[in-house]
Each structure stands twice: as C-alpha cells, then as structure tokens.
C-alpha cells in the first residue's frame, strides 16, 4: 500500500473524531435552526399585526399636524405634515400583491385606503393653500369618514387575524410538537450513529494490533499455523501487519524445510535399517540351508546304503520305501534355485505322498490334482507345497479318529495359478488365521519361522505387492483350505 494523506494513521484518527464531531454539530445546528424557524413562524403572525397597528398609530398621530395646518396654515405644521405624510407613505408596503387569504386581502385594501387618505390629505392641503374653504372642508369630512372606516377595517383585520391565529394555533402546536419529537429521535439516532462510527473507527485501528498481539503470543508458543492478519487500510498499521505476516510465513517455511529434511533423513535411516535386517535374515537362512544340506547328504548316503542292504536281504517294500525316501532327500537337496517349474514341486510332492502313504496306510487319503500342461509353463517359489502338506499331517489331524484326507490341486484361473492344499482336519479359528496371515515384523519375530508361517512369509517376500497371494479358508471342525494365487504374468521379486 502506498502511503497517502488519506490512509495515514493520523488522518484516519482525525477523520473519525472530526467526522463524528461534525455530524453532531450539524445535527445540533439543524435542531437549533428548526427551533428558531418555528419561533419565527410563531412571531410572524404577530409581526404583521404589530405592523398594521403601528401604521394605524402613525395615521392617528398624523391627524394633529394636518388639522393644525388646516386650522392655522402654520409652516411648522405644514413641514411636520409633509414629513409625516412622507414617512407614512414610505412605511406602506409597495405593490402588495393580492392574496387568496381574506384577511390579507382586507389588509391590502386598508393600505389602499390609507394611500387614498394621504392623497385626500394632500389635496386638502392644496385646497388650503388655494384658500378654497369649502373644498378643504368637504375633503376633511371625507377624510374623517375614510379614517373612521380605516380604523374599523383595521379592527376587523385584528379580530379576524386573532380568530385565525386561534384556529391555526392548535394545528401549529400539533405540528411543532411532531417536529420537535422527530428532531429528538433524529438527534438521538444521529448521536448513536456518530458514537458507533467512532467505535468502528477505533476498532478498525485497534483490531490489527490486538491480532498482532495474539499472533505474537501464538508464535512464541510455536504455533505458526495461524491465518495472516487482514489489512486495515491504515498505512502504518498495514506496514507492521505486512512485516509481521511475512516474518511468520518465513519462519514457518524454514521450520517446514527443517522438518522435511529431518523426515527424509529418518526415512533413509529406517530403510537402511530394514535392509540390514533383511540381509541378516538372508544370511541366517543361508546358514540354515547349508546346515540342512550338510545333514541331508549324510542321511542321503546312509539311506542309499540302507536301500542296497534291503535289496540284498530281499526286503523289496523296505527297499522301495528307502528309495523314495532317498529320492525325496535328493530332490530337496540338489536343487538350489529359488524359483522352480511347477513340475519340480509336483514331483517332490509325489515322493512325499508315497512316504506318507507308507506311514499312514489306513487312515489318510492323499489326492493330487493337476494338469500336465501347467507343469513346465509356470514357475513357482521352491518348496511351497510339501511344507503345507506336512503342516496338515502334523497339525490338522490331532486327536481325530475319522479318516483323514488331503487334497492338493493346481489349476489355472485366468492369469493366476491357484494352488490349493485342503484337509478335513480340525480347522482353525479366525484369530489363528489372522495371526498366520499378519505375522509380526521380521525384527520382532522369532528366527525359528517354520512350516506354514515360513511359506506365508516367503510368499509375501516374493510377491510384496499382492497381499492376496495366500489366503486361508477354515473354521474349527470343518477343515482348512490354504489357497495360493500366483500371478503368472508377474515375475516374483527376488531382489532385496
């Protein structure tokens, strides 16, 4: 805002104070003026009466020098007559217009009569100078009659005017009271208006200062989110307000920048920490794998020796069992790939099924349902089916007398490979399912993640963007179905 005389603090204060003052002075002046005018109006009606009475008195006083001159022909009397005649003529209204008011009309006639009377007087004086006795005597008679008539008319005018004044007085008083009542309303309303105008001006001046004070308190308490203070159209105040708003904005933006940098740093540290934990986990898994590979090699060689011993001794069924057990260990040990064709998983499962059938020949039904076409086309994470079947055998059929069955199915639904491991075991409650599907964070969980939890964690690891890659449909006493849905069009995530 550019500083001008109009928007300066001093001028605003002067304008508001003097504005209210001028309004009050003007309104008081109007009240005074209207009161004076009412008094004048009231006085006017008497003024005309006083005037005509003064003319009447002058006319009566005029008789004396006239009669003296007509009686004595005194030059002094003539001089006085001429002076008073002139004064009377000059006092009469000149060119008085006819009025529609009967009393004023009669007044006009009276002034004409007085003029005529003065003319007659002048004529009588002329007759006196010409020594025409009968002339000025007759004129004097005429003048006397005229003067009597004038006096009667003036009395009538006075009476009429008095009656008229009485009639008008009531109306005049009524209207005067109304005017004074409205004037009172006006002065009260305009005074309140002026006071409010002053209040508004004071508020306009002080409000930004009050807000500045409260904003300063807020900022001192660390609150930088307050709205900017509005401008007041007063240059000096706006200048302070603008500087304050700018200071607040700058502090806020600097604090936000510091916070942003801190957040980035924190996120970076968290990411780094997570990577470190992941690496540690991978190391641990590698160690487990090595341990697992070392032990199976010993078992594998031992089993081969056992199998040969069974053949030599003619125990064919034992030999076959040992062979399948050997094939299963070889299958698990030899392949070090993370992602394998589905065929690899199915083959391993078939070996495992043979062993299970030998272990549980009477009360366990095992079914494997798949299409050959899927086996080589689709790749899956290694060792995801066998642990699930093992999980069923270990946990699902505890304390059950009925015949148990496990169904493993591989099928293609649109672009998804759906692997289902279903059993008719004791099932799981919802809390158990939720606990399995939402395991604790890596750093909070036990390092001994085995079986179903291992499969779930690995699947989440390989398919991090697909939370539905594994789900469990189960309820207590009604068996369980673990369903793995692998998007065949997306590669599993194998990078950290």
């Amino acid at each position: 805002m550019k500083k001008t005389i109009g928007n300066s603090f001093r001028m605003q204060m002067l304008l508001s104070v003097f504005g209210a003052f001028i309004i009050l002075v003007l309104s008081t002046t109007y009240i005074l003026y209207s009161t004076i005018r009412l008094q004048e109006l009231s006085d006017n009606s008497f003024q005309r009466e006083r005037f005509i009475k003064s003319v009447q008195e002058a006319l009566i006083a005029y008789q004396q020098p006239l009669l003296e001159y007509l009686s004595t022909r005194s030059s002094n009397a003539l001089a006085r007559h001429l002076i008073e005649s002139q004064q009377l003529r000059s006092s009469l209204p000149v060119g008085m217009a006819a009025s529609r008011e009967p009393t004023e009309l009669r007044e006009k006639e009276v002034y004409a009569l007085i003029e005529a009377y003065l003319d007659l007087a002048d004529a009588a004086v002329d007759e006196k100078r010409g020594r025409n006795i009968s002339g000025y005597t007759a004129l004097y008679d005429e003048m006397t009659a005229l003067l009597r008539y004038i006096n009667v008319q003036i009395e009538i005018i006075g009476t009429d005017r008095f009656r008229d004044q009485i009639d008008r007085y009531g109306a005049f008083i009524g209207i005067s009271r109304s005017i004074q009542s409205w004037n009172l309303v006006f002065i009260v309303a305009i005074s309140l208006f002026a006071i409010l105008l002053l209040l508004r001006s004071v508020e306009k001046t002080t409000l930004p200062m009050t807000r500045l004070s409260s904003m300063a308190t807020g900022i001192s308490e660390g609150d930088f989110g307050m709205d900017d203070i509005k401008m007041s159209s007063i240059y000096e105040i706006d200048h302070v307000v603008e500087a304050f708003n700018r200071m607040k904005s700058e502090i806020r933006s600097q604090i936000e920048e510091i916070r942003r940098q801190e957040n980035i740093k924190q996120e970076y540290m968290q990411e780094k920490m997570r990577n470190l934990k992941m690496e540690a986990l991978v190391r641990r898994m590698e160690i487990y794998t090595l341990q697992a590979q070392m032990n199976p090699h010993f078992l594998f060689n031992t089993l081969n020796t056992g199998m040969q011993l069974a053949i030599v001794e003619g125990a064919d069924r034992t030999g076959e069992y040992m062979e399948y057990l050997s094939l299963l260990f070889r299958h698990n040990v030899r392949n070090s790939d993370i992602i394998v064709p589905l065929r690899h998983e199915i083959e391993g499962l078939q070996y495992y099924f043979y062993i299970l059938k030998v272990r549980f020949p009477r009360n366990l039904d095992l079914s494997l349902d798949y299409a050959d076409a899927l086996l080589d086309d689709i790749r899956v994470p290694v060792s995801i089916l066998q642990p699930l079947v093992e999980n069923c055998v270990v946990h699902a059929f505890k304390n059950r007398e009925e015949r148990s069955s496990i169904l493993v199915r591989a099928e293609k639904r649109e672009r998804f490979l759906v692997l289902t491991v279903a059993d008719n075991g004791s099932g799981m409650d919802r809390e158990t399912i939720e606990g399995l599907l939402h395991p604790l964070p890596i750093d909070a969980s036990s390092s001994r993640v085995m079986g179903l939890e291992n499969i779930i964690q690995r699947l989440y690891f390989f398919y991090p963007d697909d939370p539905g890659v594994i789900r469990i449909e189960s309820s207590p006493g009604r068996g369980s179905s673990i369903i793995i849905s692998i998007d065949t069009e997306r590669e599993p995530c194998t990078e950290f």
Partner: protein, 316 residues
C-alpha cells in the same frame, strides 16, 4: 461485535434519515401553511357587495362568484352593502379592479355610490336588481317580470276559481322587493282573469320567523285570502308549517320561492302548490365572469338573464 456495530450503524443511520425527512417535511408544510401562498399571483382583485344576509340565496351567489374567481385566476373580497357599514361608500378607495353590487338600496343612494366607482374607472356589474341610470351598468340576474309571471302561472294552475291573492315580499329578498311592481305585473299578466280582488302586498323583515306572525294577522284580517305567493324561501317554509299547524292545508294555497329540500318536501306532501327557483350560483358566477371580461377586454354583455324555473308536484 463487528457485525453488531455495522448493523447499529445502518439502523441508526436509517432512523436518523427517516426522522430528519419527517421533520423537514413537517417543517415545510408548516412554512407553506404560514406563508399561505397557494396557487400563484392572482390576475385581479374583485369585490362583491351583498346585503348583510346569510340566507341560501346569497350563499349561492357567493359560492358561484368564488368559483368564477378561482376559474379566472382572480381573488374576491366580500363586503356588505348595508349603508350603516359604509363599505360601498369607501369602495372607490380600496384599489380593487372591479366591483359586483347587489344594489337593493334606494336607487338614488345606490346610483350615487356606483357613480363614485365609475368616476374612479372601476368596472361595476349589478346583480339581482337593476338601477335605472344613464350609465348602462351590466346586469346579471333574473327578470323580475318573468319571476312574477311564473309565480302567477303556478297560482293559476291551482284552481279555476277566483283568486284572492296576497304577495309576501321580504327584506331577505331585496332584489324582488325593489322591483315589486314588475313582479306584480308579471303575476297579473298570467292570471288577470282569475283575480277576484286586487293583489295584497305584504312584507316580512330579516327575521326568518317573521312570516308566521304576519300570516296569522293576515288570516285574521283577510279571511277571504285563498292564495299566498312568497318571494323568499325562509318565509315559504315558515308559512307551510303554519298552514299545517292551523289545519288550513287545502283551504289556503301557497306558491313558494326557492328550491330548498324543505320546500320540495312540502310540495310532495301537497302543502305547497309549487315554487319558482332561480339559480343564485349562476348569477354569482356570471357576474364575476362579466367583470373579468370587462376588466380584461373592456367589453361584456349588457345583461344576462339567468332564468327562472317552475317546480310543482308534476316535476317531483
């Protein structure tokens, strides 16, 4: 707080404006009443000199004259013609632009005063009563011979029997009284063959109740009177009520003057045989318009007959 201040500013500002406007408006009306200036400057100032009588006839003349003054943009002052007030005597000094006079006074006195006005070149118009003079003053009013003829016509319609007729003049109708010979000539011309005796002339004063006393005396002294003609409306009404009171309705016939509602009601009831009506408003109006024409153009009609109408039971 801010909103309250704003609302207060608007409310009190408007209230102050309304109060100021009303105060100014009332003050203006008061000033205009006090100045009494309504309708611009008048063209002329005329005076109307009438008998000091407030009956409906003269009230009608005044109303007509005031209407004409308003129409012509003039003003009218009213004066009494009664000699003791000396107003007509002083009329020549009043500075008026013209005078309408109803000169019911003695002709000589009236003529002298009218000539004084003429000497000052003040135009004069006479109404209701003419003054024989060398100077032809314009005359506005009824022809009194015609008035008499129509009064006689009504009387003649009442009966074919011989009429014992009385005519009651009045100071309240000075114009007719001033030309009573003409009136009686008019009556005679209408019913000359029916008159059983000469017309008896009577006169009432300004007292509106005077007719009753006068009629009681008449019935006592002239029991043969069977028809009475009146020349004033107040007398007509008073006489009709007396006939009812004395149970003389039908025996004595009344021919009235004027068209007041009371008279018309008596005609409907058959108490009054008929009446003649003049139009006083038209007389007053035409008189002032003649004066205005005389003043503004210098010319006007020598006389205007405002006409007389007969009103009897057949017209009501």
């Amino acid at each position: 707080m801010k909103a309250l201040v704003r609302i207060g500013l608007i409310a009190f500002g408007l209230l102050a404006l309304v109060a100021l406007s009303l105060s100014l408006s009332l003050a203006r009306s008061l000033y205009s009443q006090a100045s009494g200036d309504g309708g611009g400057r008048p063209n002329y100032h005329f005076s109307l000199y009438l008998p000091d009588n407030h009956n409906s006839f003269f009230a009608g003349i005044i109303a007509g004259a005031q209407q004409a003054a308003s129409d012509s943009g003039s003003v009218l002052s009213l004066h009494s013609i009664d000699p003791y007030l000396n107003e007509l005597e002083m009329a020549s000094y009043t500075g008026v632009d013209g005078v309408v006079v109803c000169p019911y006074l003695e002709d000589r006195l009236a003529r002298r005063q009218l000539e004084r006005l003429g000497a000052k070149d003040i135009p004069v118009v006479l109404i209701n009563h003419n003054v024989p003079a060398d100077q032809p003053w314009p005359y506005i009013g009824t022809n009194n011979f015609d008035v008499g003829r129509k009064l006689g016509t009504i009387a003649g319609r009442i009966t074919r029997e011989p009429l014992n007729l009385a005519v009651v003049y009045s100071d309240k109708a000075p114009g007719i009284y001033g030309e009573r010979e003409l009136v009686e000539m008019g009556i005679s011309s209408a019913i000359a063959g029916q008159l059983a005796a000469p017309i008896i002339g009577l006169k009432t004063s300004m007292n509106p109740l005077d007719a009753e006393q006068m009629l009681v005396g008449l019935f006592r002294t002239q029991p043969g009177i069977n028809t009475i003609i009146f020349t004033d409306s107040s007398d007509t009404i008073a006489a009709a009520q007396l006939l009812i009171d004395m149970n003389l309705v039908g025996q004595v016939q009344i021919v009235g003057f004027g068209a007041e509602s009371g008279i018309l009601e008596y005609i409907r009831k058959g108490v009054i045989a008929g009446t003649v009506a003049v139009n006083p408003e038209r007389i007053g109006y035409e008189a002032l318009m003649s004066l205005f024409s005389l003043r503004s153009t210098g010319y006007t009609s020598t006389s205007i007959d405002t006409g007389v109408d007969i009103i009897d039971g057949s017209k009501l």
